[in-house]
């Protein structure tokens, strides 16, 4: 655990010592507010539904930006060699990095809280879906981050890591969308709906916290973190 914390702190120092973290957070908060308020007054309802329905798309772009450097840079600079010859287990490094990216994601969500407070001051807001929405956004963001982190471990090139992560997240999102499910063979419908990141998010976003959805997200996160450990280990398979 001590090593997880050490890696976590190191990554945070790297994030906040360079402009990267600030740029990503400011851009995210700016985009989120702009896209939300642009249609909020037309909807004429004190609800955050609009906000939570666009978060998956924003995260799809921002999560890969957060994770792209985490392993790719270590590989490019060859610092991986130093890191992995210290008394540190592969999974400790993976978790430390994952938590540091999660910290950025949580900062982004926290900084969008004023938005919720603003909205609630304008009318009678139902907080249930808002809390559910935040929880869902957190889980979904974490799932995106675990995917991005894994993909970053496969390449030295940050840009490639970001682009591929985006497409994988996008793919996992749309397989559960109704248009894909509609076109798919009937035998696959149940599976696709279950795999798709979207359907689980929507039910949590309605304020219904179902253990199946929680387990789904935790499984996705665990699966990609596991792949990540294997990816880091791959240096040994020659």
């Amino acid at each position: 655990m001590k090593n997880v914390i050490a890696v976590f702190q190191k990554e945070l120092r790297s994030y906040f010592n360079s402009p990267m973290a600030y740029i990503v957070i400011i851009l995210f908060v700016g985009f989120a507010n702009w896209l939300f308020f642009r249609s909020f007054f037309m909807a004429n309802s004190a609800s955050m539904r609009m906000y939570f329905s666009m978060l998956p798309w924003l995260f799809m772009v921002f999560a890969p930006l957060i994770t792209m450097r985490l392993w790719a840079e270590e590989k490019k600079l060859n610092t991986l060699e130093l890191l992995m010859t210290m008394p540190l287990k592969d999974w400790e490094a993976v978790l430390g990095k994952f938590f540091s990216s999660l910290f950025l994601l949580v900062s982004m969500l926290v900084l969008s809280l004023p938005l919720a407070i603003n909205v609630s001051s304008l009318g009678n807001m139902d907080w249930g879906p808002v809390i559910g929405g935040y929880l869902g956004a957190f889980l979904m963001g974490a799932a995106y981050l675990s995917i991005g982190l894994f993909i970053s471990s496969l390449t030295q090139n940050q840009i490639i890591a970001a682009i591929i992560s985006f497409f994988v997240c996008f793919g996992l999102w749309i397989v559960g969308e109704s248009i894909v499910v509609f076109l798919a063979p009937a035998s696959l419908v149940g599976l696709l709906e279950f795999i798709g990141l979207g359907s689980h998010f929507e039910s949590i976003g309605r304020g219904v916290i179902d253990s199946r959805d929680l387990i789904y997200y935790l499984t996705v996160i665990g699966f990609f973190l596991y792949l990540n450990v294997k990816g880091v280990e791959s240096r040994k398979w020659a």
Binding site: V7, L77, M86, A238
Partner: protein, 315 residues
């Protein structure tokens, strides 16, 4: 302290290290020498547990690198080639990260960092981002990082590449100072570096050991003879006769000097005895005068070139 037995490392069809065995004793500074691409870095990566060998056994302080890699990693300080560091961290943050992972308790961490940065001459750059530092300073940060947990084994891969001559001397001095207490493997393709700092040298080429021994042993092993150049005033033919009559001399060649300057006698002699002294005595006994006496031992450069090009010629 370090035992390498029959280690082979294959990357697909390429063999980077081929059935290599050697040993490093406690307190010894071993120069690991070879041309670029000889397999030095791969061997270091195997010893430091970055990657396993395809075959063979590596033991560090009695611990197997495969089954006991954690214990091995705790004992080793490692500076990989070209000192890879996190460019967007500052020096103190970086060193405290390393100290943290190396398990140095937080109450002594600051003190240890101070000690090590003083020893490596980093006082001036503590708060600076590593990315803004010169190559020399980065190399020192790399060295500080490898020393922070006071390891008994130190592995340095090309520690002076890219440095200017002044910095090279500084780093070598530092390594010599550290080398008094630690077991060190110093990888290099630069000969003066190795001969200046190491007790013993191991030369590898194309993944295989081609020679090992002290610098002097290696020089002797390659060519059993030494060359002596002497400028002696007197009758050339007479001097030559006397020189050739000496016990250890194998051959003599005369380069006649122009005008009043003396001729140079180039002797090939066996290693035994003190040939310099013998030549000098002969000069004195016969009332000649000597204006130059130089003994040329085979340099490490010759040994190295000889050993690493031999195979190619044979093919």
């Amino acid at each position: 302290m370090i035992e390498v037995k029959g280690v082979t490392k294959r990357f697909g069809p390429t063999i980077a290290v081929n059935n290599l065995s050697f040993e490093v004793k406690k307190g010894e500074v071993l120069g690991f020498l070879g041309p670029n691409g000889a397999g030095k870095t791969t061997m270091m990566r195997i010893i430091t547990c970055y990657m396993p060998a395809s075959d063979g056994i590596v033991k560090v302080a009695g611990h197997d690198t495969l089954t006991d890699s954690f214990k091995v990693r705790e004992r080793i300080g490692y500076l990989p080639e070209s000192a890879p560091l996190y460019l967007d961290m500052d020096v103190t943050d970086y060193l405290s990260f390393v100290a943290q992972v190396r398990g140095i308790p937080s109450n002594v961490r600051r003190e240890r960092i101070k000690k090590i940065t003083d020893a490596c001459g980093l006082e001036k750059v503590l708060g600076k981002d590593i990315g803004t530092l010169s190559k020399g300073y980065r190399q020192r940060v790399g060295l500080a990082q490898s020393l922070i947990h006071d390891p008994d084994i130190l592995i340095l891969d090309e520690p002076t590449t890219g440095l200017d001559p002044g910095q090279i001397i500084e780093i070598r001095e530092l390594i010599k100072r550290i080398g008094r207490e630690k077991t060190i493997i110093l990888c290099s393709h630069i000969l003066p570096e190795v001969s200046a700092t190491c007790d013993r040298i191991l030369i590898i080429n194309e993944g295989q050991k081609v020679a090992s021994g002290t610098p002097e042993e290696l020089a002797t092993a390659t060519e059993g003879n030494i060359t002596v150049r002497a400028k002696i005033h007197g009758k050339d033919a007479e001097i030559r006769e006397r020189l050739e009559a000496m016990e250890n001399v194998i051959g003599c060649r005369v380069i006649t000097g122009g005008g009043s300057s003396p001729s140079t006698f180039v002797l090939k002699a066996k290693q035994e005895g003190d040939i310099g002294q013998e030549v000098f005595k002969m000069v004195v006994e016969n009332n000649y005068s000597l204006s130059e006496l130089r003994i040329e031992r085979v340099s490490l450069e010759d040994v190295f070139l000889h050993l690493t090009t031999k195979e190619r010629e044979a093919e």
